[in-house]
Subunit: 190 residues, 4 copies
DNA sequence: CATGAATGAGAGTTCATTCAT
DNA sequence: CATGAATGAACTCTCATTCAT
């Protein structure tokens, strides 16, 4: 109990939730400490400061999710199948940890700007898959960034509507519909 | 009087820019006063407080843009044409006032949650157009909210990529491509 | 009263006293605010922070005293007379504002290290006077820095003893004795 | 036991260095623990707290140096010789352990104020020697405290300049020059 | 009426010290 | 007995808001 691991976990879970609910700027160290039942000072033994806590949380999970996405995509053959796999991946993350999904993909902390090109990045995974689909003539010529925007937009906006309560049920239940919509949007002459 | 109006305009333009660049929470009254060349105290003669300034800015322009969108949509016959018109409307806003676009549609201030159902709302305009398209069998049966998410997602994510520098040029130049993508995404058996 | 000048003065007088009594590190912003009867926040309208307050206080008065010392020295002909004048200058500062003397010449805030060579500096004034005395053969050859140490040491340690209560009375009353001692220390074969 | 002693020594050496470099207030227990490769908690097994550590360090060495100075002075006959011996003692301490010299004689921790009259004290040793010189008519009548200030000032300010880099080389090399200067300063009609 | 000095609550952070392990 | 996680008070600094001038 005094080894700090439990405390770290409690802090991170709590912080994630608060960051998503009230925004990073709107969440105070005191908020986190109170909700995690830790003293404010204790937080600083684990993280150099608020910024570092945010970055730790973001970069660790962002990278991990990118890796998952890459595995899913690699295991599928052809853009259509890759889209299915990736969209399903996004949906699974949403359904299994909605808070994490929001923190990684929807919340506006300034962390995305801190990512270096070398770091694994879900957007780049999607882009690479789409780009290779274009190259293999699976879909007509399209700016890969525009294609990525279309795919990400469809997925993320649907997730956003789910959070706002406009859409109900699980994301996974819609996965097939979403990847189909992406595919159609990318293929003018299907 | 004239002077008061000029001051208000300077304050609002400045505030909008700062809110978008540094976030609402990250922008201080002092920042605004300094950049708008007004005293801090003077700001409180025009707005009851920071919150009210944010809300004023948001609700006025949000409603106005919703009205514009509604006119565009109403002037077009059929969902395909309505989509063209609305997407073009989004693109025009982006190109003419990128800052305003970001503030209204991309930034996460908590203002959207304060909107009452009675207030004009771009998302609802899009939803209504899509819903009537479904009702008129122009597109196959689809949850109107899902369809709205798809349209909004494609437009907003493209705008986001433009802001990040992933995509270059004007949004208007892409308007046709975007509304075409929306249309295809909504029409499984086109 | 609301123009801030009075407040500034109150802050500076108070701060100087506290810095000398409890040390810079040992004095908190709250201490100063309380003693100056100002809110803590108000301090930050006048100074960017504690460091800047310390530096403002130090550099302004340090430079001013150096200028005074230089005038005194320049008005005297010959090292012996210059010593008399400068030592009397130190003594006058001590007697007229003991707190300031301590802050400028005895306290160990890290400000001396921040001085640039271009800034007026009492030690350099003394050194220059001594060096010119050596050059004009008024005193035998001696490392000007060593000579400066001797002069400064005699003056500052006497002041220190006065503060500790080991010595009583005014410094001015001892001025002649001190500059005579300095002169003898510098002239082996007087 | 052996180990405990080693640890104590490591702590004390480290602490002394840090106190001199960053000031007592500017040095944290954590700094010391880290630099001495000890846990923070372990420090409290050796010392009741930070204050006690400072006091232990100061009083022990201050007393020891006073004793050394007293022996040196006692072994010399006449004020002139006593001055030579004592100044050499100061110089030797400076050259052999500059950090200790700074901590004992130049740094402004509030420890000097805690000394009781009963405790051995370098300043008192110097004072006693000078006072007896006055009494024996070796030097003209002078306030013994003023004489002490002159001697201490010459020595300490020279050491200070050495630390600032204004003077180079060893203090011992200057010992004779310094005690000669002291002697001259004390003897008007030599 | 505009100004900007002042307030005061609260933010992030530090640190000597304690104490469960 | 050593460790280092935890505490909690205190610190520096920020900022929306008020208000004397």
């Amino acid at each position: 109990m005094r080894d700090g691991t439990k405390t770290r976990e409690r802090i991170e879970t709590t912080a994630l939730l608060l960051f998503v609910e009230k925004g990073v700027a709107g969440t105070t160290i005191r908020d986190i400490a109170l909700a995690a039942d830790v003293s404010e000072g204790a937080l600083y033994r684990h993280y150099a400061g608020k910024d570092e806590l945010v970055w730790t949380l973001f970069s660790r999970h962002y990278g991990a999710f990118a890796a998952t996405l890459d595995e899913l995509q690699a295991a599928a053959a052809g853009l259509r199948a890759k889209l299915d796999a990736m969209v399903a991946g996004f949906c699974r993350l949403f359904d299994s940890d909605r808070t994490l999904f929001r923190f990684l993909l929807l919340a506006q902390h300034g962390q995305v700007e801190k990512l270096t090109p070398a770091m694994a990045n879900p957007v780049e995974i999607v882009r690479a898959a789409v780009a290779s689909g274009v190259q293999r003539r699976e879909i007509p010529l399209i700016d890969p960034d525009l294609a990525t925007a279309i795919v990400m937009g469809i997925v993320l906006q649907t997730a956003t509507f789910q959070i706002y309560g406009r859409l109900r049920g699980t994301m996974t239940a819609r996965a097939a519909a979403l990847s189909a919509a992406c595919w159609r949007a990318l293929t003018p002459d299907a």
